[in-house]
């Protein structure tokens, strides 16, 4: 890996105006790096802005402020034809491949279209390139003459991948590529993606809310909540000991397919607020059990986490006021968080019973 990251995202903000005077901050002051051949897992719930971030990076949506440098070039300064040319180096794959295909095109046209747009090839050359791409995506040539609706879901996603890699891109935004697939199929697709990455040194931004899929492919993890990046770091470190209360709540909310074990769960309260006209401060403040007064005052500080042990890397960041006090003593911080975790629904039950007797009395 070179020192200069392949993709350098700095202070990116994207606001949508909805209705009169209502602002939806989809992406708020996000900075991230993506290195060659690396996968960044981007997770978050609805309204977190993860998909918007992916689209802004590809300039499918124009950001308000911030910079995106790709191979040292300021992407946001490009316009018209140079930008269109640049698209051969960056691609996107969607959750539902069918939605990404023009419904009137056959697989052959779908895969060859980017080649036609970016390269001047003879018929035979084009045919040859298409076959190469097919093989890379592990697809049977018989699908070429099919309509995408006629082939299996997994094959559709492979066609989408084939189209994305046709022009030899440097990075691909994968927007929940396994979201609609059964578990076994999803493992197959992730296998293809990993192989491609090894062979072609392609970098991925893997957007998903399926934490197990993210974990299977990513090198680093970035967790977003209501437009803000709350925590980013090496994947195993974050999974093992998340430092942000939201990360902890999100990871512990995943239900285990095992009736014998249960989870200490950091309990959030209330709903995910509407992302419109958010108050200043930490977006988690209204739901966070560890909330303090300063949390609603302004943007939370960026805290560098020095992980313990071998995997401790300086590239681990978290944004939280109370955490910043415990920066030097993470164990103390984990203990604080654990105090607010529970496994049983006893307390809930007690609260309900209390509400009932209070009502009757």
């Amino acid at each position: 890996m070179t020192d200069e990251p392949l993709l350098q995202i700095r202070n990116l903000t994207k606001t949508f105006t909805v209705g009169k005077g209502q602002e939806l901050v989809a992406v708020s002051n996000v900075s991230l790096d993506l290195r060659e051949g690396e996968t960044l897992g981007l997770v978050g719930e609805s309204g977190s802005g993860k998909t918007t971030l992916g689209r802004v990076v590809l300039r499918l949506t124009e950001p308000d402020t911030g910079t995106v440098r790709f191979e040292g070039i300021d992407l946001l300064a490009l316009a018209g034809e140079p930008m269109r040319r640049m698209r051969s180096k960056m691609q996107i794959v969607y959750q539902d491949p069918m939605l990404g295909f023009n419904p009137r095109m056959r697989v052959r046209d779908i895969i060859s279209e980017p080649l036609r747009l970016h390269e001047t090839l003879s018929r035979t050359e084009l045919q040859k390139r298409v076959m190469e791409v097919l093989e890379l995506a592990d697809l049977d040539p018989r699908v070429l003459s099919e309509r995408p609706g006629a082939i299996r879901k997994a094959e559709q996603q492979q066609v989408a991948i084939a189209r994305a890699i046709a022009t030899g891109p440097r990075f691909i935004v994968l927007d929940e590529p396994t979201g609609l697939l059964d578990l076994s199929v999803s493992i197959h697709i992730i296998g293809i993606l990993r192989r491609l990455q090894e062979e072609q040194k392609i970098a991925y931004i893997f957007i998903s809310h399926d934490l197990s899929a993210v974990r299977a492919i990513s090198h680093r993890l970035a967790i977003m909540y209501l437009g803000q990046l709350v925590e980013t770091g090496p994947i195993e470190d974050v999974f093992a000991r998340p430092t942000h209360p939201y990360s902890e709540a999100l990871l512990s909310s995943v239900l285990l397919p095992d009736p014998k074990t249960t989870r200490q769960r950091l309990r959030l309260s209330g709903e995910i607020p509407s992302p419109i006209n958010l108050p200043p401060g930490c977006p988690l403040a209204p739901r966070c059990p560890l909330v303090e007064e300063r949390c609603t005052g302004g943007p939370p500080p960026l805290v560098a986490i020095r992980g313990n042990g071998e995997s401790g890397q300086p590239s681990w960041w978290s944004t939280c006021f109370p955490l910043s006090d415990n920066e030097e003593n993470l164990d103390n911080w984990y203990a604080i968080m654990q105090e607010h975790e529970s496994t049983e629904t006893e307390e809930l039950r007690a609260a309900i019973a209390a509400a009932r007797t209070e009502n009757e009395g």
Binding site: R215, F239, S253, L255, P257, K260, T261, L348
Partner: protein, 324 residues
Amino acid sequence: MVTETPDATPAGSTASGEILRVSDLTLHHLVEDRLVIDGAFMSVDSGEVLGVMGESGSGKSALLFGIIRLLLREVEQRSGRIAYRGEDLMAKSNRQMEQLRGLEMAMIVPGGKFSLNPVETAGSQIVDVLRSHFPDRSKKDLADEAIEILRIIGIPDPDIRFRAYPHELSGGMAQRILIAKAMACSPQLLLGDEFTVGLDVTIQAQVMDHFHALLRERNTSLILTTSDLGIAATYCDTIAVIRRGQIVEYAPVLDFFANPQHSYSRLLLSAAREARAQQKMDEARVDVERDTSQDRRFVHEDLPAPPDLYTLVAPGHLVRLEDE
């Protein structure tokens, strides 16, 4: 209200706490000409949570609608006996069923705001449920009770939500309103049809934890359809696996996860286990062994399943014979 029909509760039944007993339920889709449900059976005790697991199209929704007797017009019931607290539901008129629904058993439908009447407030829809069963009570009285129900369901600012229209609610909030509608008249049996699908994980955990606690507190039974092994493992007492309209395995939850017998169940579980093992999922996390000794055990010794099709592999654990 409850009348003992000797026919419906066979002598020698050990299920003293049994609230629902379904046997040989077969539903036929007239237009598609296929069996949506093929000889389904179940037994649910008071306070029990039965998880019906299956893929989309397996017929698990139809099973719930069959039990509550709200079938599509294209679907006809070929056979089946449904006994609720010993009462034969098949012998009831439509009017009687309308009375029973909501008061004795109710269904939680999925879909959030799309399952709420768009032109009326959330509160008035809960009042509608209450008024349908208590027509004599005053409007004010019913409204107060509706707000109280919202509070119990765990909805913050119930007064405000009461006046909100569905389109003003978030998905999680709308889903809680649907739960509130189903629980408004405190029915003893709830039928939940994948009602957390589409909710974000942290919201799903919040809703399910609270809802589950409420069920336990009220000793209410629940039949829950799901395709999520996590939900099944975390919240259900008993599991029924359904495939192509047939129940292929029926077992207490610990037994099921420890010892799945049918090849289809094994397939379901192995995919999840493989994923978990392969990804070394969460070894470092603070997962704890659950104290299963505190669990209530629901072991149905007398499931109304045809013995020529099912084998008993353990107490309360039935497996359908496989064709090949």
